[in-house]
Subunit: 261 residues, 2 copies
Amino acid sequence: MENKKPLSIIKIGGNIIDNPTELSQFLSDFSMIKGNKILVHGGGKSATKMAQSIGLTLQMIDGRRITDKPMLDVVVMIYAGEINKNIVAQLQANNTNAMGFTGADGNLIQSTNRNHPTIDYGFVGDVKKVNTALLETLINNGIVPVFCAITHDKKGQLLNTNADTIASELAIAASEVFDVTLNYCFEKAGVLADVDDENSIIQQINTALYAKLKEEGAIHSGMIPKLDNCFNSLSKGVKKIQIGHHRMLKNSNAICTSIEL
Amino acid sequence: MENKKPLSIIKIGGNIIDNPTELSQFLSDFSMIKGNKILVHGGGKSATKMAQSIGLTLQMIDGRRITDKPMLDVVVMIYAGEINKNIVAQLQANNTNAMGFTGADGNLIQSTNRNHPTIDYGFVGDVKKVNTALLETLINNGIVPVFCAITHDKKGQLLNTNADTIASELAIAASEVFDVTLNYCFEKAGVLADVDDENSIIQQINTALYAKLKEEGAIHSGMIPKLDNCFNSLSKGVKKIQIGHHRMLKNSNAICTSIEL
């Protein structure tokens, strides 16, 4: 069995993106991570703010946002334009050779428009395939890919796509050729055993403990799809997943939640 | 002397971008061009429309647009987000493996903030250097780069940059490794000898004829910097420059203006 090269995939969300000081600190820390790496970023609040400032009404069905055509235009502008390109420029200033992508670029992530039996989510994509060969070529040429949460259907349509899903699908696909560690950064230090106690970080979760925590109700509703997603990724070849505050990337002794099968 | 591979660089402007039918036809024609190619696109009217819809006032000094911070945010969103990513998605639908870039991506085009003795243009960049090695690697891997008119200063700042200049600077830099033909597409069939006569296309301009036409006043003010730029590019290694309607790309017998030294 050949030795695969390591690859770190790091996903950041709105809590970092919406705070310029935090984002700048994170990008500096990210630049210090040695070896092959990919950044995936979510959207933050600026798409909602932009939508409001041009008079769009946010469409919600069953608490889920619907991406109609005007909203798709806004998320493409903000995610692929404003946020992605400012992150790339800041990483370049930190001597990281970042390149910003949607899934349409190089056909890196192709998706299909979600076909739900009862809800029309609009221009939302579910990931279908990753162009692993091109991703590997880019990484082998010293490029640090930076993905925003936009994909395409290869028929000319851009699609709004969940950033956590993009991170996990990239991780699964890249596992063919790399030893992948997937890091989800959020505002807390890790998954909490008690949602009211910031110090109750569960440092390791495996399949058995996860079943037990779900049964006990210790892991709350919003965390379940996230963790299901993690175990799915691990079962498909991802080596290791960490969930926590982005300081875990800088300090390997920082407490976070490690997930394994 | 080794044989260089041919490379076509095509620049399109607002007249194509603002017309969805025209853009779609152009992108289909562009996809049919054989061999290595790069697309450079300008902005069109949507940045101005977006600026107005969020209540920005366009700043003009001596008839030139000033790119203040709010306007920079808008052009980044529109050029690098909306326009660039929709072009890339449409090219992918045409089986062209397009990848959309600002100059910040892969540090492909680094510029310096314009330092004018009397006018503060704001966040406007003058191209300083092109990352030719990475551009060549991308092209050799079958990628069709699509550049919008945004660059960066390598210190974290994105900069608004003239699309014609980006096209010519890319052409000059790429001439190190490719035989470059640079095509400027605009609404007319070529450079007119008589601005009121659409049939007065000058089919060939060389240095001597250019001097004569300027002296006679046949070439009007707006065309002078464009042609100066062309002769500069040719003197720096670009093989051939064509100016005309984009149908010249599809039909090699279509009348256009060819420029040579």
